[in-house]
Symmetry: D3
Subunit: 299 residues, 6 copies
């Protein structure tokens, strides 16, 4: 057999290797929190969209929840707004909220555009559409920091209806309170609340870190698989700090509310989503229940 043919057979092997995973997650909902570098670098962006589109095509039901952080800051500068602070925390006043919603909307439609260009039916919505996300004001240490909200209720039917009509929903984290005021929601929180509400099989966070470390200063302490009880202990013992603490808390909440498995992936690795799901290469940290069967890929 010549070399060229060998190359093709190698390809076939890759496809065959994906078979059990495709089967396992068939018609399952996978919520992807999309953010960080993977949203800024154009090439990484294309990879993420290809990955999610492929998931859709082979029978999964992905839902994207995205943020828009750096773009919002860029536009705040562009229109010359002066940020206000309370106790050192930035306040989201009405004008900032208006601009944030505009920027998030723009990001949302640009993702729709990319998915559509790959031939898959996308629909970009915010938490306002169909009353998807009901919020209540979030206080920061008891202080009012403006239109920043916690998700109080998710109207999962909206997503079920769109999935049934074969849309790939792309959600930006804006919601309404009971008086129908507009609030910004942390995208991690929104992804987590949505994954819980739709009883997602998987929730994957695309982040700018390798995963959870026992000792963040020692790269050798990266944890591949973290059981919920072990995760709680790490938090109690103070090993987890900075931005990882609320993220890990979110992951554990999701697991405890019906999501089967949460992944913290390094979005800077091309196709990290695909590799995580379709190959036996573990990327980042998987969080799962204490009692769940041993995960099957060869870590």
């Amino acid at each position: 057999m010549n070399q060229s043919m060998q190359k093709y057979l190698d390809k076939a092997e890759v496809l065959i290797e994906a078979l059990p995973y495709i089967q396992r997650f068939n018609r399952k909902i996978i919520v992807v929190k999309y953010g960080g570098s993977a949203m800024i670098d154009e090439e990484l962006k294309e990879h993420v969209i290809q990955d999610v589109t492929l998931l859709k095509l082979v029978g999964f039901k992905p839902i994207i929840v995205h943020g828009g952080g750096k773009e919002i800051s860029k536009w705040v500068g562009k229109v010359g707004m002066e940020p206000e602070f309370v106790n050192g925390l930035r306040v989201t006043d009405e004008a900032t909220m208006e601009l944030a919603e505009m920027v998030l909307g723009k990001v949302n439609k640009s993702l729709v555009q990319l998915v559509e260009s790959l031939g898959v039916r996308a629909i970009g919505i915010s938490g306002k559409d169909g009353g998807l996300l009901k919020v209540e004001k979030k206080l920061a240490d008891g202080e009012d920091i403006g239109f920043v909200g916690d998700v109080k209720e998710v109207n999962a039917d909206i997503l079920y209806d769109l999935l049934e009509k074969d849309f790939l929903p792309i959600v930006c984290p804006v919601g309404l309170d009971d008086e129908f005021n507009t609030y910004n929601i942390n995208a991690d929180d929104a992804a987590c609340a949505i994954a819980r509400a739709v009883k997602a099989e998987k929730l994957a966070f695309l982040t700018d870190i390798e995963g959870v470390y026992k000792d963040p200063k020692d790269p050798d302490t990266l944890i591949s698989e973290l059981r919920v009880s072990a995760g709680k202990q790490l938090m109690e013992e103070g090993y987890i700090g900075g931005g990882m603490l609320p993220k890990l808390q979110n992951c554990i909440d999701a697991i405890e509310n019906g999501v089967s498995r949460v992944h913290i992936l390094d979005g800077r690795i091309p196709h990290c989503l695909l590799l995580e799901i379709f190959t036996n290469k573990g990327i980042g940290t998987a969080i799962l229940n204490d009692t769940e069967e041993k995960y099957y890929h060869g870590e």
Copy 2:
């Protein structure tokens, strides 16, 4: 019978008067082009949203198509952009398009918010979602004026799917060309193309004029009902000018492509939509086919 009771009976009569209209348009699609003053004046805005919501609740299937003209200009100023012109026509360059899409998105979600606050399921989309509006570049007298597009194709299934799931779709007139570039579309054109594609029963334009006049200078020449052939003659004979010409052309195209009736309504009259549909008060100008049965309300 005392006076208070009489007042209530009068109310009952109004509801009963609406009965044949409710029945006639049951489960019919009504496309509403929403723009002009009715979009700026807060009270008129509330009336329009109440009207459309009521249409939805009594069994119609309304679709809103909106513009965002004045808001866009406001924001162009806000971010200090300098408009460019070609042959006296403003050019929509990439930066302008980006901003326009943001503003239209903001307007779109604010309408969703209003409808949701009245307890009806709304979904705000643009022509990008699900590939709803496919466009091609529009030339102005042969000159390229940037990202301004004509609707080439409407993917009506998107709207049928959303209507089937009981959403009230609110569409902003942005679309993609074959290379997946973003284009702005004239809202009148978009409404018209959508009404044709979904074979709407009615297409209603909320405008800032009373209707079509034979002689725009003489208010007594307002035309209540205009047959297609008469409309064409008026255009040929030069009676119709200014912004009304393309609008009337759009109306006639819609009628000739399966829309049963087009209304040019004066959006400055509160609840003009409701009055037009549910009472025997004719508002503005109705355009209809030469052969269509005599319209039933008492003009």
Copy 3:
């Protein structure tokens, strides 16, 4: 704004006022017991049918249950039958039952005819059709008074099937016992049993009285809203007498078996049904659960 326009705007306001009620009762079942003067006076009859038809068209699911009392007496005379009595109670022998069924059938089809003439799909059935009403013989103080029955079982599927096919069911209160003999049923009882079986949102009695009075001789003691516990107390304390006692008992039974609200309306007021449901004018007496939220219209 001129006077004519003001009149139209007033109309629009009435329609808008109905909006929250239309929304609240969307797709809910409303059982209307139709009887008394509203069934004799031709104009009132027309009003009732208009009201029910409108309810149907705006998305409710009304079911009419009707009696035929005065017509039956008229025909008993016409064919020269001699009524028989036991302990002062009129006996429904086989011949009377046969005639009663014929008269009720005639009334039934005349209502179908009226609803159809307003363009709504009606179907007139009795408790025999599909085995809708199973009855057992009713004894009056232990005495057999012939073919008068109590409802033993309601086959709710019949009504669900007809509602699903978009019919407005009109039911006459005749049923079969286990040996398939024909029985007459009190229309109030039939309406009540049906409302319970289909878990109606509302049950409305069109009667010839203003409502429930604390002191029937004092018109100022009309009770607008009667909680179940208060109603029971009134009955125990002997305030309620005559024909109202079984009616009120029926109302309370309905509430205690899943119907949300029962209305005793004065059928002599034109469009009383519409006014009760769509405006903030309370007509007659509403009976509701002790724990139910405060009713929202402005009494």
Copy 4:
């Protein structure tokens, strides 16, 4: 094998003999015009209802259309009405129509009762329900004879909807004209119009004659199978007379409008319907198309 067992085996053979017929007419619509002696004799009545119920249970979709002739005359006498005549034809004035509708309604519900007692879901309707039968005034030799109508339009959806919900529809021949006045319809005509509208597989008339004779005076000229062209010729040549002429015309119309086969059965033979359909005993006259395949039972 003993005699008792032989008896049982004979039974099994009868059931097996029915097998190809059950299969052939599975899910097919069979319209039965029910009238004549079979409607008066209690035992025959029971047989007919058993037959139709069995047809329903083994997978056919029967629809009964019935008259009420003799009962109507009986009641006209009972209430002491004086028949009026025009050109020797009895006039159906408003009072007569009212009474006729009452009697037909009574007959209708008595049939429902019988079918229900055999455990099958029946629903008794008239041509008013759901606007099933639209009529226009019938003139007798140009003379107005009152509320007697010809079927102008059948709303077949009503019957399809009821069949889909597994009802056995029992129809009495009363309908409405465009002004919603009540009309009596000849039951044969109604059955025929309905069979055509629902594209029935079979239309069977239960009559008081053996079938069509070439020479009505000679019992040996009974025609078992009559092709349409032969039927027309018989009529042209004057062989067919009396009440048979319009009946045969009706049969031929039905065949020419999509009904596969029409049977004129002798309703005085017990279970004639069952025998005709399930055994190789031909009863009465079968009318069929010139081109239809040879009928399969062993005539």
Copy 5:
């Protein structure tokens, strides 16, 4: 009435007699274990297939489970295989299993062929198809006798799906273990497991005995109706012996797991299935729950 007509009326009576049974078992699942003489004698075979086909046509949902015993032995001889024994029990080695599967497959398709020739949609499957029957190795007194399995799990959805698509499923008792090896299953056991899994209304065994006897030597002790508790007592007291013991145990298991009634029929009586179900002739022994209502046919 002449003799020929009388014969036809007798036929009609047989059909009418079947009416309540057809109604009672409408849309119910009936599992038929087909084996013994009724599978060898060509005429009996034809009768069984006619019976099952008729059951299907009149609205039941039959499932056939068949063995192939004698044919397997015939083919074992034909290919010159030497049976092996362990402790006096025949061992099913791989070669025997391969041949057995081939023979069972042949029998399976021959039954499909017969049903199809009567115009009913049949599908022949084994326990491998859709993973219908999951088995585990059966030991005979602790000894491994090869590829003989017990049913561990039935995938009832496969049968529901085929019934929904209007197939008559014909199942041969071969299944797979967890390592996807092929096993033979006792056909009685397979029928029983399937009847339990699909919650069959009836399970009928076609056997070569008259039924259960209290004293097998005394034909007068045949038991027509055996309650579960009485059956258990008979077994405990040693009255039941030979091949009947496991069969009766199976029957009792089925009843205790949701099957309403089990019949041990004498397959040597022509149309025994039809007679048992459609007439008041009791064939063989019916096993039923202690608490079940008295069986309705006239034993």
Copy 6:
């Protein structure tokens, strides 16, 4: 980036490369004629089953049609049957047909077993099930060679129903004639007839040759893409000989009857099916319409 990571990224690229093909054939029917070496070599067999299973999992609707040639010959010998010949052609007498059906049934279930072991729902049927394949006797040069048939009619509904229930149908080429006799069918012919009947998107033949050659002796003349008109010309000009002639004729027939593309693949190349469909490596010969758009992979 280290080498191990690069390996994973290469894998991701392969999956991404498959994306447009997965999308293009989503929910399309692909008929695979399975035979030759790929059915004998255990490793190749496993590859084919993996390939087809993967096609199923990523959203295609594969149907396998298989032969069993060599196994049949093996068993004919095993049971000591003597083949009969007419004009040099082997005759399929009743005994041979019986054995052939048994062997094909065994092969059929072994394929079901393999697919099931990969977690996909398979169902093994023959042309008898549901009357899938109706045949008529095939004559060889006018001579009767026994139970060898040509497909006369395909009951495509059977396959649609099974596909709708998410089965992967595996069909063995045995059918019934009008008298319900069993016939063997050439597997290529059966695959072709089925592909036409279900309007398959693709029909792939797994063969033991590289494809169609202009000059079979010159390996350089392998034709990658053959238009129908060119194919016909090759046949007319005598370039195509031996077993390829009827195969090519079959391919052309399929194309001319609605199949979009037919592939003659070399079944000896591992995963040839997957490579053909998911990569830009052309395997064997593709036959397609003269007018079809240029095939998109990079030949």
